[in-house]
């Protein structure tokens, strides 16, 4: 079965609906339309969809953004990722994430960050297989969410230097 990957077409209002459908399927509390709009309208080039030739609608998507982090480095962020149940374990998520990272690398990101729940072993396997490491654990027992890990993939040396020292190079290397 052939899978096509392509960036979001922001002018096609249907695509947003499908992204919502794919992402909401796995969330207990949905994102509001503002979250989707926040990502998709500002960084449409960082959203990729996967299409299978046996069905019309997209079967997977990844949604990202990038921003300057504390004025010191460019940080890419993977906000959402989902693949339709029926299409899992075929390498679709991996391909989507790779495309997104590649794009963020081209843009000049120093690192890629994301958060995922400690219990989500599937996502952890996926990202850690690409070189992401767990930088910290976050306590989130609030509302029984369970802890989460913050994962980072360093793309440049800047990712490996503390922000404080990126901002004041003279003290860092004095």
């Amino acid at each position: 079965m052939g899978i096509r990957y392509q960036p979001l077409n922001i002018s096609n209002a249907n695509e947003l609906k499908h992204i919502q459908r794919l992402i909401d399927a796995d969330l207990s509390e949905p994102y509001s339309i503002y979250v989707y709009r926040y990502f998709l309208n500002q960084w449409p080039e960082l959203c990729f969809l996967a299409f299978s030739n046996d069905t019309e609608n997209p079967v997977g998507c990844v949604v990202c953004k990038y921003e300057t982090h504390r004025g010191a480095r460019l940080r890419g962020y993977i906000g959402m990722l989902a693949v339709d149940q029926k299409y899992r374990r075929r390498g679709i998520a991996k391909k989507l994430v790779e495309q997104a990272i590649q794009k963020m690398q081209e843009i000049g990101c120093d690192e890629i960050m994301l958060e995922t729940e400690v219990e989500n072993t599937t996502a952890l396997q996926l990202y850690e297989g690409m070189g992401f490491i767990r930088l910290k654990r976050m306590f989130r027992y609030y509302l029984n969410q369970g802890d989460a890990f913050k994962l980072i993939l360093p793309l440049t040396e800047r990712s490996c230097t503390r922000t404080t020292f990126l901002l004041q190079p003279e003290t860092a290397f004095a």
Binding site: Y31, R37, Q102, M130, G131, I133, L135, D147, E157
Partner: protein, 733 residues
């Protein structure tokens, strides 16, 4: 508008996005909440229940659920609207109070015409609200974190802000008296009221006045605990008894900034949670009996370690210790408290300490020293505050703190060098300079660094392939700490000897002014320095034993990793780390926290690589080398285990026992320290056993690749330390 255009405020960020609501979205719009007919019909001014007996049953059911909902909120990490505020009587009372706030309870009394409701249930409601107000005060102090530790969303309602505790007390006492006099079968309700009656007393533990110096009154906590124990035997009342009295409706009726949420039912563990809360509060209050800075330090280090304490106790601890009146426990000024820490470790008996005693308050020396004490206080308080955090924040807290310790060390070292130039100098046996202030800062910094690294194992932050570098670095840090402690120990021993030597000199001296002067000095030192120096000697000896044990445990882990790597069962390289990044970048990111630390310098990536090579075992004579390596590890482990045995013994016997060679400073946290070190003992056993297992599985002549038969898994042996998960081999399926 085209799909590609949006109208967005520049300040609207991802946080705003994920916290925004959406009208007409069932999952995000609480005005769409559907309430049941019972909820809609529910009326707070009706005395539910036909007979008096049924009314009592009803009121008891509401009171029980309300009382439980406080713990569902706090111990279950839920929100107020889905717990306490879901009680219709609470909503009704505080809404009326919010509209008409006053110093009495006139606006929030129930008016059903039945005293069980109007008096007793009102008491339960106002007592609960008063406690919510107390927790909000803790929350506002900003010690624990919103949404991960605690949610204090009162939906804009006024939780009886102007009502003094005495009014609540009186109201509740009247209710208890009423029940005891007129209701024979109200035992459970009386217990619930008494529990709440004690709960409101928490407010008085918050130090606010100078006279809070007096030992805290533990009675309310003990009584509360007793009530909770008794209430544990009653099963939660079936929700049907008071259908409609608890409802998510408040989320619909009041302005709600959050998505609609179901109300949270009791899990049945709530009274046990009350017991735990009391145990934890009592533990925190025990810090008032600390006799020294090192006891306070050890208290903080251990009290929240093996079990995360109740969020209320954690939020309370720093406020109780470091008070609004700028004192520690109402006993020390911040600066004195910091100085005590130094005296308890490396400063006592030094020339600097003596100069500080002699110099006038306005001298440059004292002033500069005090400035540093202020710096020390700032960081020390972060350290203390950090010990009360949840287990994840605790590790993150160090991340920031390390920079502060590091820069303080650099500054204080400069200061001590200046002092040396002025002739204020302390030397070790070999005439190298000791620098008591720098030494202490370095000790605190290394301790924090080690804890940061090892806590990562507990939190499962490292994957098995990272175990080598992390344990090797822990070993490296432990070596530095060991060295620092050995220097300190040597220095203290030198001081003690030199004081005792004065006595010998005295005997040789002829009578005269010189002799009298020396005699006075000797007496002064015996009286003032020797007791503290002896205590410090024992504390540093203990610290050294612990450090050696940690060093050996880390080293053994390094050896075990190297054995596994030598057999091709594990690799220290990240999987798939080459497509977008490199193993070196990943390594550097992992060690980012330490890259800027001046001393001890972070070894380069190459040094890490080479050290693994050094530990790796290769043919020829693989079997013999492996046996030697594991035998070495085993003997090291056994040696270091003896040190922990000594520590555990000292904890049991108790500090102050004159025959002990160590002083652990754990008198007030005996149980927690015992648990911590006993877990380390089990880790020693587990590592010895793992070594034997590796030897048995990999030691014989290799027939085929071990990877075909075995794979590595991370094992956390029962009861062993969470800081040292073991890399064990399992048979492939």
């Amino acid at each position: 508008m085209k799909p590609e255009s949006i109208i967005k405020d520049p300040s609207f960020d991802l946080f705003e996005g994920t916290h925004s609501l959406e009208i007409d979205n069932l999952k995000l719009d609480s005005s769409l909440l559907e309430l049941s007919p019972e909820e809609k019909r529910f009326d707070c001014s009706t005395p539910y229940g036909g007979s008096e007996e049924e009314k009592l049953k009803f009121v008891t059911a509401v009171a029980d659920r309300l009382c439980r909902s406080i713990m569902v909120w706090l111990a279950g990490f839920q929100t107020l609207p889905t717990t306490v505020l879901s009680c219709r009587y609470v909503e009704d009372a505080v809404r009326r109070y919010t509209d008409d706030p006053s110093t009495d309870l006139s606006s929030c009394l129930l008016q059903t015409g039945n005293p069980l409701f109007d008096q007793v249930l009102t008491s339960c409601v106002v007592g609960s609200c008063f406690f919510v107000k107390f927790v909000s005060t803790l929350f506002k102090a900003g010690v624990v974190f919103e949404e991960e530790d605690l949610n204090c969303n009162t939906m804009g309602l006024n939780m009886l802000s102007m009502v003094p505790i005495t009014t609540i007390r009186e109201h509740m006492d009247r209710s208890i008296a009423l029940l005891e006099a007129e209701y024979k079968h109200a035992d459970q309700l009386v217990l619930i009221l008494k529990l709440l009656r004690n709960l409101i007393e928490f407010q008085d533990y918050l130090p606010s006045k100078a006279e809070d110096l007096a030992a805290p009154n533990k009675q309310p906590l003990l009584d509360l605990m007793q009530c909770a124990q008794k209430l544990k035997v009653y099963a939660p009342v079936a929700p049907e008894v008071c259908t409609g009295a608890f409802s998510p409706g408040i989320q619909k009726r009041l302005s709600n900034q959050f998505p609609p949420r179901d109300i949270v039912e009791s899990a049945g563990e709530e009274y046990e949670a009350y017991v735990e809360l009391c145990v934890d509060m009592l533990k925190v209050l025990a810090v008032t009996s600390a006799r020294s800075a090192s006891e306070t330090l050890q208290f903080a280090f251990f009290f929240n370690r093996t079990r995360q304490r109740h969020v209320v106790a954690r939020a309370f601890f720093p406020l109780y210790l470091m008070r609004d009146d700028q004192t520690v426990l109402g006993k020390y000024t911040f600066n004195d408290f910091s100085k005590e820490h130094l005296l308890d470790f490396s400063l006592c008996g030094t020339n600097l300490a003596h100069e500080l005693l002699d110099a006038p308050e306005n001298s440059a020396l004292v002033q500069k020293f005090n400035e540093f004490m202020q710096e020390v206080s700032g960081i020390l308080f972060e350290w203390y505050q950090n010990t009360a955090q949840n287990r994840c924040r605790y590790r993150q807290g160090y991340n920031r703190q390390l920079l502060l310790w590091d820069s303080l060390q650099a500054q204080i070292e400069t200061f001590e060098l200046e002092l040396e130039a002025q002739g204020i100098k302390d030397e070790l046996q070999d005439s190298s300079s000791f620098m008591p202030l720098t030494t202490w800062v370095f000790y605190m910094k290394l301790r924090a660094m080690l804890d940061f690294v090892l806590k990562g194992f507990e939190l499962d932050v490292y994957k098995p392939w990272e175990f080598f570098s992390m344990f090797w670095y822990a070993y490296y840090l432990a070596q530095h700490l060991e060295n620092c402690l050995q220097r300190t120990l040597g220095f203290i021993e030198k001081l003690i000897t030199s004081i005792h030597n004065m006595n010998k000199k005295l005997k040789k001296l002829k009578a005269g002014e010189k002799k009298e002067k020396l005699r006075a000095k000797y007496r002064w030192s015996m009286e003032n320095d020797i007791p503290q120096l002896n205590a410090n000697l024992k504390f540093v000896t203990y610290s050294l034993m612990e450090c050696t044990a940690v060093k050996v445990l880390s080293l053994s882990q390094v050896f075990h990793f190297a054995v596994l790597q030598s057999s091709g069962l594990i690799d220290s390289k990240p999987p798939g780390g080459n497509k977008f990044t490199s193993p070196e970048f990943i390594h550097k990111l992992r060690f980012k926290t330490f890259a800027s630390i001046g001393v001890p310098e972070l070894p380069s990536y190459q040094v890490f690589e080479n050290s693994l090579k050094d530990f790796t075992i290769a043919e020829p004579m693989f079997t013999a080398k492996l046996a030697r390596s594991l035998a070495f590890t085993k003997s090291e482990l056994e040696g270091a285990k003896a040190a922990i045995d000594t520590i555990v013994h000292a904890i049991h016997v108790g500090d102050g026992e004159p025959n002990l060679s160590v002083n652990t400073g754990t008198r007030l946290v005996k149980e927690q320290a015992d648990a911590h070190y006993s877990a380390l003992l089990r880790t020693f056993e587990a590592l010895v056993a793992n070594g034997q297992s590796l030897q048995a599985k990999l030691g014989s002549v290799k027939d085929g690749s071990p990877a075909a038969r075995y794979h590595v898994n991370v094992s956390r042996p029962d009861g062993a330390s969470s800081y040292f998960p073991v890399l064990a081999l399992s048979e492939n399926q």
